[in-house]
Amino acid sequence: MQTTPQKPAHGPWGRVIPAAVLAVVTSLVTVCFAVADNPVVEVAGGAAARYVPAEGYTHWSLTVERGSPDVRRVTESARSTGYTEVIALPEAQTSHVLAALGSDVRTTQFWREITHVLDGEDQSQLTDLYTLTDEGVSLVAGYGGTVGWVYSPPLVQLPPDVAPGVSWTGEGDAMPFGLITYAHSASAVTPNDAVLLANALAHDVDVSRCIQIDGETQLFDESGADIVLIVQSELWCEGKGRVAVVANVAEVESQHLASAPLPEATGISTNSTPRRWSDPGSWVRRSATVTLDDEFFGANAFNLGLADAPRAAASGLLITANTNTADVVALEPLGDRLVRAWYAHPGGDIVTFSTVGDVTVVSTGLRELVAYDAKGRRLWQHPVPELVVAPPTSTGDGRVVSVGLDGTVTMLDAVTGEIVWTRSVGADVDLPAVVAEGRVVVIDRAGAVSALDAATGEVAWSIESEPATEMLGFGAAVATVGDDGWLRMIAVSSGEATGSWRYPGSYRALLAVGENVVLATDEQIVAIDPESSEELWRDDGVEAAISDGTTIVVFRGATAVGLDAAGAILTSWDVPASLLWSTRYVVATESSFVLMHTGSDATIVGAP
């Protein structure tokens, strides 16, 4: 405890010394934290790393071959460290890649290229995996075509000291078990190929930051006989990867040239077919496995990391966000399998996504909106000022509305990405917009509801309400599930409140069933006629609920129960209960509902 008060110091030094010492200590601590929080992680690969594209880089190219139509390609780049890239490969390929890598894969830096071929008979999706190590940039694996590759040792693309005048060679296996082997030689020169230079200049590429790699790769079969000789000149540019290539493969010349974006903009449906389940009473449950079917490596179970509910596209595909590799993955239900139809890497973490007919719109952590068509081919990307955490909303007429966390509402053409209009509501928004009656209705975190004209973005009305957990359109009204325990209906035309109901418990789902509103909480599920405000029926609480507009499926523990619009039980199914360690997601499709969680297994309840 305190004894005698401290005597005041004498003279100015009595003030200066404490000030100086405290300033030094404070500065020292501050600097220590600034340094501690910024550990320098060197990008491996030496000088070669400069030429590797950054995370999320996208590159369009045109393959030109005499006598053949041009083939468009779009390539997305992903950068990561550690096992996730290797584990994401086909299972049959993974062990061979691990063996080829040898060293501590946990700290190995990877670059992955995902290439979609848009034209020609073989519109396959190709994946190439490179490592960035002390050996430079090396190709270690490839799959997706008719042949799959595992290079052991990895085939050096760029050595760590790459510069004009440097040469290198390599040889080893190009396939598991030495089915095919390779011998490679290459040298780096100052760009001099006329075709490559012309292509670079045509696309405003700064050739002074590029290097040309002239190389030959000979492939041999098990017996050592020649299979094919690949001679190519590649133009690598800093931050852009392989910009253009002139190749001669078995005496056939081809050019892979940089191109402006040429997305497939025709034949893309943005219509969302209303879901109408047929005879759910006859549905049966079956287990399903998420698989990756590769032409070369066969069918392999595929682990998905899920942190958000899958969405159903109009094409029947299930769109998921794989948190393991930050990829969008489309799954096609085929019997007892969910087969990977395509996958894409929009860049950065996937924050949210939604489907607009066949178009998938993804919001990323790099603050971009990226759209894909039904085959997973990139359509457009658009930078946004702030994260978009609310799934974009389809307008039903080929447009999509996205609302940023900063309240920026943007209307875009779903196919072309052209901005129709942008408006700010001035406050943060984390719920998706509702489009109804020619208006876009947005609710911010403070509960202010604004209606914007869907054609122009002009504010039609704005009212103060209560913060909400959910907002859904019901014909000419929107319903908001307030954090204060009230369900409110607001007329879209005027902003007038048309009804409100108190609800107990924690919100679980809000459904439009016929003309009625069905609100599900953990304590009850209740159907309300929004016109008369009459409660139609009520039942016990649920964990989750989905609907096709006429039939409701509620989930209670390990049971899913089908109810009709009047709340009568149609049937029930045994389903996996929620896992303590992994959230269960349920998605309604055209003819079933699917339960998924992180992993490779799923449950489908649908027509037998």
């Binding site: 550990p39 700290t107 406050a427």
Partner: protein, 611 residues
Amino acid sequence: MSEMQGPQKATAPRSRVESWPAILRIPWLMLSEFVDHVLLEPHREGRLRAKDWPVGVVSIVVIAVIAYIVAVALILFSAPLRAALPLYVSAGGVSFSFPRALLWIFLVLLVLSVSLLQTAAMHVATWLCVLVTALTVLITLFVGVTDAELGAFSSGRLATIAASILLVVFVIVRRRSSFAWWEFAVVFGLLGLSLAFSIARAAVTASPGGVDLGPITLSVVMFTIGQLAIPSAIAAGSAVAELATSSALRAVGVVRRHLPVAALVVGLVALLSWRAWVVVETVRAGESVAPLQLGSSVALSALIVGAWLLLARLRGSRVASPPSATELTDKLSGVAQPIGAGLAITFGPFVAAMLLLQVLFGYLGQADWLTTASGAIGLLSHSVTIGVTRLAVGVLLLVLAIRWAQRQRRVVPELLASIGVVVVTLSAASLFGPVRWLWTSESLSIVATIVCTGLLVWFLVARTLTVNRMAGLAVALLLTALFQQRDFVSDPLGAVLGFTGVAFVLFGYVWAFLTSGSYANEGSKRYPKPARILLFLASTLFGVTVLAYTALARNPDSAINLGAFADVGDQIFGTAIVVGALVAMLRGVLSDREPELDTAGKETDSAATTS
């Protein structure tokens, strides 16, 4: 001196202002007087004063104030900072995003807050010293746990263990001595360097594997200890109500002093019309004004009036007049913080227990008993536990009010009684029954407006409407209006920030920083002045740090939703102060007395807010 006829205070030299034409002079005097009384006077009376401070305290205060300004700046510029800087994003059910480059600033602010608190606690009552030191040790070990190594004790963990031991020894050694400035330097240096080392070690270990541990560490730390900012957030909720009340009082006061009676009449009519329109619109909207809610508003007001009458009776007739609205408002900031701490008292043990569990998990690994303990600790944050605790706090406030009234104190007992009634009512509603019958600010405003209107009509009919009564009713109506529309304070700031939920809390924090430091201008044996100064700084700095974190994460739930707790504070303190002020006003109206500014017996209450 009456509230309406306060000191004639000119904010410009008399000769210059007096020479202005009346059309300029009068509005200027009104505005300057209003601003002075509402904004400047609370600051003059409540600010921290650099008087008789021990050596070195000035430097510590400067460091803390600079840190405070940095935190507030981060809040104000959170939107452009997020737009300009790369974000760390973790996707998931609840996505988390944060400007990566600013992360280390929060580590510094957190360690600075903890160091201020720890240094303050070294020379206070033993129980508080032990509690705070234990909390500091737990926080240090908790952060150190992130540096994990298989089969070995990592150097990061060793550093935090060593720092904890040294800290405890230092506290024991210095306990019997007086405060010395270099104690803060030692504590800050010890905690800062050990934690920085541990974080650096963990980052260096994780980053080659592509894992960015910094945001994860900070988010876990904020999520765990951010709850310690709840008491200050609850107290911050009183700021807007305090400002609304004093604004209403002063606004009518300046009109009375500088304008003729006709202006008061016009103002009263305008207020009445405005309130009538708002009441009609509110009733039409149909929410929060059900008959039960109106009834409970009347009941609440009656309970508070009843409590005041009881206190007056206990006090006897020696101290005649009940407290004025101004006196209540002046005392509010002094009681808000300790009451806020009481209402959130379960969060302290909860945070400490969670820290301890995390440390044990980190060092011992998974164990069944730890899992069981984790479940048990969760009871501390259960709504029933919180409700019971708040009910107990409400009852305690009523008991304190009675005891202090018996000791002839004035103002604070009435204030505590008002707050106690509100707290008991809210807690009982949350514990025992549906909240749909509970009063709301809308229903209270309607009841108050109806009462004021009824009194006005009565006085008009009885021809007993005097200027004093008109002034009192005008204050009451304006107070009611500002209470119902008290977002007028935080909305402009919210419009600037564009971020919901931060403006209200930020205003409360800054207001508290500027006006609630007076308890640190005095000392006592158990709580000497340097300790109070550092405690004040620690509390305010920690609150804005947590708020800045949520602002930059653009997610009010990223640490702890301080806005929700500020709303609780607003509901409790705002309701109590407004109902109390209305009761005081209307009592004056009934007895045809101008609302009083003087606070007879003010000296006997000053000690009530210090302990």
